[in-house]
Symmetry: C2
Subunit: 186 residues, 2 copies
DNA sequence: CCATGTGAAGATCTTCACAGCG
DNA sequence: CGCTGTGAAGATCTTCACATGG
């Protein structure tokens, strides 16, 4: 699927997007056409304009505030990671239930007690949360989040969280991804 | 999909598996039937036996050795996390290219220079790797891994890695998961 | 002539309905 | 009678082929 670049910076064709992403060009065109007619026939897609439109559609032309629960290794890594902010996600507070951790700092962020979370979430109107607690506490944390108004949860605990269907949950289980790799090892 | 437990410990029905996992019972039966006839009609699936068979099919009745490249926040979190070992994945070595980090320890594991990786991988016959380096270095690391015999890569760098098709790559881009949540926020 | 946009064909995945067996 | 296993139906996703317009 190699193609020539004929109009660098201004436009990009579906076949070149395919080269970059690995997604085939039919799929790219179909997917884009689902949201509108962004391209010009014979030319391709105007890069700047397309990016702007997609950002609007995906609501990523704005920043989103989050809270994180679970100041363990993984939670700490996320707090220190700069990449989220670059993509528009700001972790505003961290909560834990371990009294030895409360008040400690990760970077310049103080760890708060989980009991403060409900009030915090409601006052700041935050609707997204990340769960990085052990599996045994994850359901309890999710329930707390949901009752405090959280609408979307990114869950790293290896457990299937029960939740009302209007709440969005994305699970990331790293061990499952490794297991998938093992399975496909011919 | 609530059901009664009628033979605790010994057998489990697809509908009860459904309650637990959230996957519907038709899907569970179809998927299992793809690998064999594990159940008994009118009874359900024998728990112990089913677990053993699935572990064998998924090759998770054995442990797998891994290396990790990128001793940053995320890499460090994984090294400290006990959950992988419990699921049969052992990180045997960590590599980085930052001279200030080489020789330092994370837990009881010494950080090695990336230049040592090829020799290490070949001598230990390790075929799985985890990439937790910044996006700009990820392709280079992947190429190194692949030329040293790695067959499966779990990649956390937010970039599409080019690779021969016989190499398995699983990507985890946490910001994409957050973006997915935002998009589905009604 | 080039590359999009899209109806139609094809492939795959999910759900259903029920025969079959303990 | 209960619950699996599975062919068939239904839904969805992917690929193709080509008409269309710059």
């Amino acid at each position: 699927m190699e193609t020539k670049i004929n109009n660098p910076l201004l436009t990009i064709s579906s076949s070149r997007l395919s080269d970059i992403t690995g997604i085939n060009p039919y799929q790219i065109r179909k997917d884009l056409s689902y949201f509108g007619e962004f391209g010009k026939r014979g030319i391709g897609y105007p890069v700047i304009e397309l990016a702007a439109q997609l950002k609007e559609i995906l609501k990523s032309n704005q920043t989103w505030n989050l809270v994180l629960v679970g100041a363990g290794n993984l939670g700490t890594a996320f707090l220190r990671y700069r990449g989220f902010a670059r993509r528009g996600f700001i972790i505003k507070a961290v909560f834990d239930n371990d009294n030895r951790k409360i008040g400690q700092k990760i970077g310049n962020m103080r760890i708060r007690h989980i009991q403060e979370m409900e009030k915090y979430l409601k006052s700041k109107k935050i609707i997204m949360g990340i769960i990085t607690v052990p599996a045994r506490s994850a359901q309890e944390v999710a329930d707390l989040m949901i009752s405090a108004g959280i609408k979307s949860i990114l869950n790293f605990a290896p457990i299937n969280l029960k939740h009302p269907q209007e709440i969005m949950i994305q699970n990331i289980d790293i061990a499952i991804e490794l297991e998938r790799l093992v399975y496909y090892l011919s």
